[in-house]
């Protein structure tokens, strides 16, 4: 086996040193009736060439060369090659969690830079070293708010990503939480009247998403005021991190739970991604996940350590703030490099491009016969909801034939919207693609589309 660095002679010498005749002597503690005497029924050992072939075959069965307008929590943005060049360095890739600070300063400093950038972007005072993803991050943020307030009622906007809400429901089910979903108004934003009526002295938090699942941007300041008036916390979940390049950060929120996948992380059929929780400093002790902090060594030199680990499971055990153990260090590093590459100006310019592309796409697609832009009165970033005469399935079948993946059907979660699809246009979508999609929507006969 090519990954094993031993010759038969090495093995024999080691057995002799141990003082046994056969490797099976070392497994003697496993009762005989449970010892596996035959080969596992899995594929035979493959060469590297065969492995690559296997996965190439699989990749070829997926969509290839399609123009895609999918967003909905996973965004297709250009990934500068510098990112993979850096994260594939073995010193980052094959290092463990930086508990031994003296020999993991690279990872620790990068995490510290990540935490700083997340604070700058979100307008929060502190940020952790990352969570699994946006869905579990939102659930952890809610549990954090419950600990902070000592209350157990949770209000969740229906415009929060449906899968985030499902994950939250799974987390909350054995925590004795009382959860209520708040609907949305004509502009696709949380229904303020319904929310105001629902907030009570028992409300731990209000969880919203902005830009929300429909792509519209919530008025965080107003929502914060409503929540704070009753002593509840406002949690803002952000699925499209790039929006922060041009959308005002939710500074009025108490906790921000963000999915940073947009920042240089490939869609990768659903993960791994990079959640992160940022919040006001006064909630530090209730924050889940790892934290890197600055300190000094015995000579007074600056260095970084994982700190405040008493919040975590390996010390508190059943009293821990969360059972979270791993974070998403390598993915956080990708996002950190991405934020460094684009930086203060680039994120803004890129966000502006996204705004322009989505604006053009929304206008162009809504102008096709039988189509209508929903929630048009609220501000949006790079996503929008289109209502069509035909069903999402019919529309997408026609689009797929032209190697276009259209908007995501909302029927599964929002049947009340009829034939509604959620579209996303980023810097990856060319005008030709957008016009091509509009052409398919307009025409019955199939146009010829070339990807310029």
């Amino acid at each position: 086996m090519r990954y094993l660095p031993k010759s038969p002679a090495d093995r024999a010498a080691m057995l002799e040193a141990i003082g046994i005749d056969s490797i099976d002597d070392l497994f003697a503690t496993i009762p005989g009736e449970y010892r596996l005497e035959h080969d596992l029924a899995i594929p035979r050992q493959m060469s590297e060439q065969e492995i690559i072939e296997y996965f190439r075959d699989a990749a070829n069965q997926n969509a290839n060369g399609y123009a895609s307008f999918l967003g909905a929590g996973v965004y297709r943005h250009y990934r500068p090659v510098v990112i993979d060049a850096m994260v594939q360095r073995g010193e980052f890739l094959t290092s463990y969690t930086p508990y031994q600070a003296e020999i993991t300063q690279g990872t620790l400093q990068a995490i510290f830079e990540f935490q700083t950038m997340i604070c700058e972007l979100t307008g929060m005072e502190i940020a952790n070293a990352s969570m699994y993803d946006g869905s579990t991050g939102a659930a952890e943020a809610v549990m954090m708010a419950v600990r902070v307030t000592g209350r157990d009622h949770v209000l969740v906007a229906k415009t929060v990503h449906p899968e985030y809400r499902e994950v939250m429901a799974t987390y909350a089910q054995h925590q004795g939480l009382n959860k209520q979903v708040i609907g949305y108004g004509d502009d696709g934003r949380i229904d303020l009247k319904e929310l105001e009526a629902a907030i009570t002295e028992d409300t731990a938090c209000v969880l919203i998403q902005s830009p929300n699942f429909f792509g519209t941007i919530e008025d965080v300041a107003v929502l914060a005021e409503l929540a704070h008036a009753k002593g509840a916390l406002l949690i803002v979940s952000i699925a499209e991190a790039l929006s922060l390049g041009i959308v005002k950060p939710p500074v009025e929120a108490d906790i921000v739970s963000m999915e940073a996948q947009s920042f240089g992380v490939a869609p990768g059929y659903g993960g791994p991604y990079c959640g992160v929780i940022a919040c006001k400093e006064k909630f530090l002790r209730q924050m889940p996940g790892r934290l890197a902090g600055v300190t000094k060594d015995t000579e007074g030199r600056r260095g970084f350590v994982l700190t405040l680990s008493t919040r975590e499971q390996h010390i508190r055990r059943e009293k821990a703030t969360s059972n979270i153990c791993t974070n998403q260090a390598l993915v956080a590093l990708m996002t950190c490099i991405y934020m460094t590459i684009y930086g203060k100006q680039g994120l803004k310019e890129l966000a502006e491009q996204n705004l322009a592309k989505a604006h053009y796409a929304a206008r162009t697609l809504a102008a096709t016969p039988g189509s209508k832009l929903l929630f048009a009165s609220a501000p949006r970033f790079n996503e929008f909801v289109l209502q069509t005469a035909e069903t999402a399935e019919q529309m997408n079948q026609r689009l797929n034939k032209q190697k276009i993946i259209g908007g995501l059907s909302l029927a599964r979660w929002y049947p009340e919207l009829g034939n509604a699809t959620l579209w996303c246009a980023t810097e990856m979508n060319t005008r030709v693609q957008i016009d091509g999609a509009a052409q398919v929507l307009s025409q019955k006969e199939t146009p010829v589309l070339t990807h310029a």
């Binding site: 002790r285 680990s309 008493t310 010390i315 508190r316 009293k319």
Partner: protein, 129 residues
């Protein structure tokens, strides 16, 4: 380390000073010494109800968390906020660094607590193990 004779003690290493109906609670020098450098004290809020023998907060070092057990039952009247900024005060002067003050609801509970001499005997046995 001499343990002040005016205090009473618990087997969980808290001390309490009684002044009328008010009890002032901290942790002993023995406790701070075994915990090491203290980095955080989690105290209850003013108005919280404490029950004798039950946890009411915790003291943290870098790698350990120790629960605080209340010597008496009562209501918290005051919390030593100075420990937020300088938790290390407990390390330098455990017997002068109180954590909370409580209004006693069952003053007779104090009788069951250890005297300084009893406590010193108790910890010398514990150390011997």
């Amino acid at each position: 380390m001499a343990y002040p004779t005016k205090y009473r003690y618990t087997r969980e290493h808290e001390w309490i000073q009684i002044d009328g109906q008010i009890g002032t609670i901290g942790i002993t020098d023995y406790a701070q010494n075994s915990l090491g450098d203290i980095v955080f004290v989690e105290a209850p809020k003013v108005g919280a109800t404490l029950e004798a023998g039950k946890t009411f907060g915790s003291v943290e070092s870098v790698k350990a968390v120790s629960d605080l057990y209340s010597p008496v039952s009562g209501t918290v009247t005051e919390v030593n906020d100075a420990l937020n900024a300088e938790p290390e005060k407990i390390n330098t002067a455990a017997h002068d660094s109180w954590i909370v003050k409580v209004q006693l609801s069952k003053p007779s509970e104090v009788d069951a607590l250890l005297s300084a001499a009893d406590y010193e005997k108790f910890i010398s046995e514990e150390t011997a193990h």
